[in-house]
């Protein structure tokens, strides 16, 4: 949480026109700063636009209202400086595990030997040794997401964007993935924006949690999480953890109720 802000959202808004209907304001006046090496969770009810905010930072969706700066420069399109992990893995199904992970390294123009070496390093890191030549269709959901994480980390992005990365996994796999992500973060600290609707997940992983309101999405409150270094799931049994969960749950509850009412 030290150092200058690496990512700056300044008065960011987003609106769109659905195929049938009137213009919808999805995001309104979002201002948020994420420091170098900070793990920021973006927590909010479904439909609050938290993924859209991540897509704007990723450069996938064109920014029309406000400004987003990365290292002082405005975002213009996707790039390997901001690695992305999606909920649905978004792997290339025609490529093996190794070929998926090598794809970004090929685009970087690394020498072949270095591509192989680095791909193997990240395959080992996410515990997929022995599955190098498997296709995604032969892997379980948890393994697929590990491939996606390894593929993203292999290009060594300065910033990691994760869009509900563990939302499609079962509860046990999700807990294992939490530990693996924390281990990766200990080894290779990255500025991270992590979108989730899971309060416990946000408290467990993040340095700070930004809570968003129901549509139009705004930052309702930013809560710093002072639980120290996460060394294992024991911290989830501590009273401080329960307090954070309750505080954030109360913040998010009213918004979730509004979101449900609004969608009716």
């Amino acid at each position: 949480m030290s150092g200058a802000a690496q990512i700056v959202f300044e008065g960011v808004g987003h609106s769109y026109v659905p195929p049938r209907g009137r213009r919808v304001q999805a995001l309104l006046d979002i201002s948020l700063q994420i420091a170098h090496g900070e793990f920021m969770a973006l927590l909010g009810p479904s439909g609050c636009g938290k993924s859209t905010l991540l897509y704007l930072l990723g450069g996938f969706v064109r920014l029309t209202q406000g400004a987003i700066l990365v290292d002082g420069r405005p975002v213009s399109g996707p790039g390997p400086d901001r690695g992305v992990v999606f909920q649905s893995f978004a792997l290339f199904p025609w490529k093996t595990v190794r070929q998926n992970i090598r794809y970004g390294l090929e685009r970087l123009g690394l020498p072949r030997a270095e591509q192989e070496e680095r791909a193997q390093h990240f395959i080992d890191m996410v515990h997929l040794t022995g599955f190098e030549n498997s296709y995604p269709s032969q892997l379980s959901g948890g393994m697929r997401q590990r491939v996606a994480i390894a593929r993203t980390l292999a290009v060594r992005p300065a910033i990691l964007l994760m869009d509900e990365p563990f939302g499609a996994l079962d509860a046990q796999t999700r807990e294992i993935m939490h530990e693996e992500l924390l281990a990766i973060m200990r080894a290779q600290r990255m500025t991270t924006l992590f979108v989730t609707h899971d309060v416990r997940e946000a408290v467990y992983l993040a340095d700070r949690v930004a809570v968003m309101s129901a549509r139009p999405g705004r930052i309702k409150e930013v809560v710093p999480i002072a639980l120290g270094e996460r060394t294992g799931p024991e911290v989830m049994k501590s009273p401080a953890f329960a307090d954070y969960v309750e505080q954030l749950w109360n913040l998010v509850k009213t918004e979730a109720a509004q979101a449900v009412a609004g969608s009716r």
């Binding site: 996938f60 390997p80 901001r82 999606f86 978004a90 792997l91 290339f92 025609w94 032969q138 593929r151």
Partner: protein, 256 residues
């Protein structure tokens, strides 16, 4: 051991039954030789045509026209389908045309191509390509429509440039649907080539059948039927083999 004999028998039993019925009907002179020549005389005829060089020449012409038209439609149809899925103006222009053209019997355009190109193999190739373009373009469009947005985004964020997306991401991603379209298109290409030959009386298997009919040469007509059946079966098997080879990654072929 019994399986080695019984399995092929089960799969080809109906074909065997038809051939036996054919043999029985012709051998007992239930119908005249003219209406139904014996299987043996048809086989002999195919053998004689093969020896004389007539059959290889006819096959070459028919396969040539079918595959040339198929290849042209494969390339053009794939490009058109992807463009329809990705470029709004292209979709606006071609979508209604494809919708109208798809159920239409494209062979009706043969007289136009004959007017333009004369009774040449070029006219046959053109009518084949025109006919087969529809299923190929439709399959490519459906495939490109179905590509997950986040997969395209992933590729972009991993450093793929706009120009690399088509070859590295879009084409491999649509291969399953595209191959389905091509598998539908290939027999249609063969059918169209043979019908065109029959209508124009040109060389090739279809033309040879037409000539045999004019000379009341019934073994010649039946020989053409057998040749077309074998040829079509061979081409379909080839496409199946190609699909299995290209889609080793796909869950339909994955060995669990």
């Amino acid at each position: 051991m019994a399986r080695l004999i019984l399995n092929p028998l089960r799969e080809t039993g109906s074909i065997l039954a038809v051939v036996l019925a054919w043999y029985w009907a012709s051998a007992t002179h239930l119908v005249t030789d003219f209406l139904l020549p014996t299987p043996l005389s048809v086989i002999q005829r195919i053998g004689a045509d093969a020896m004389s060089g007539d059959l290889p020449a006819a096959l070459e012409r028919t396969i040539g026209a079918a595959l040339a038209g198929f290849a042209i439609a494969g390339v053009v149809g794939t490009a058109l389908g992807i463009a329809m899925a990705r470029v709004r103006a292209v979709r606006w222009f071609f979508d209604p045309l494809i919708s109208i053209g798809f159920p239409m019997p494209k062979i009706a355009f043969l007289p136009i191509f004959l007017l333009w190109l004369g009774p040449t193999i070029a006219a046959e190739i053109t009518i084949v390509a025109f006919t087969v373009l529809f299923p190929v373009a439709t399959a490519a469009e459906a495939g490109a429509e179905g590509i997950e947005t986040v997969m395209l985004w992933s590729a972009r964020s991993l450093g793929a440039r706009e120009g690399q997306m088509l070859w590295q991401i879009v084409l491999p991603a649509i291969t399953p649907q595209l191959l389905t379209g091509l598998q539908i298109a290939l027999p249609i290409a063969l059918i169209t080539a043979i019908v065109a030959e029959m209508l124009t009386g040109s060389d090739g298997v279809g033309g040879a059948m037409l000539a045999a009919m004019r000379f009341a040469d019934s073994p010649g007509v039946f020989a053409g039927i057998i040749e077309i059946a074998v040829l079509g079966y061979g081409l379909v098997k080839m496409m199946e083999w190609l699909r299995a080879a290209l889609l080793r990654w796909h869950s339909e072929t994955a060995a669990w």
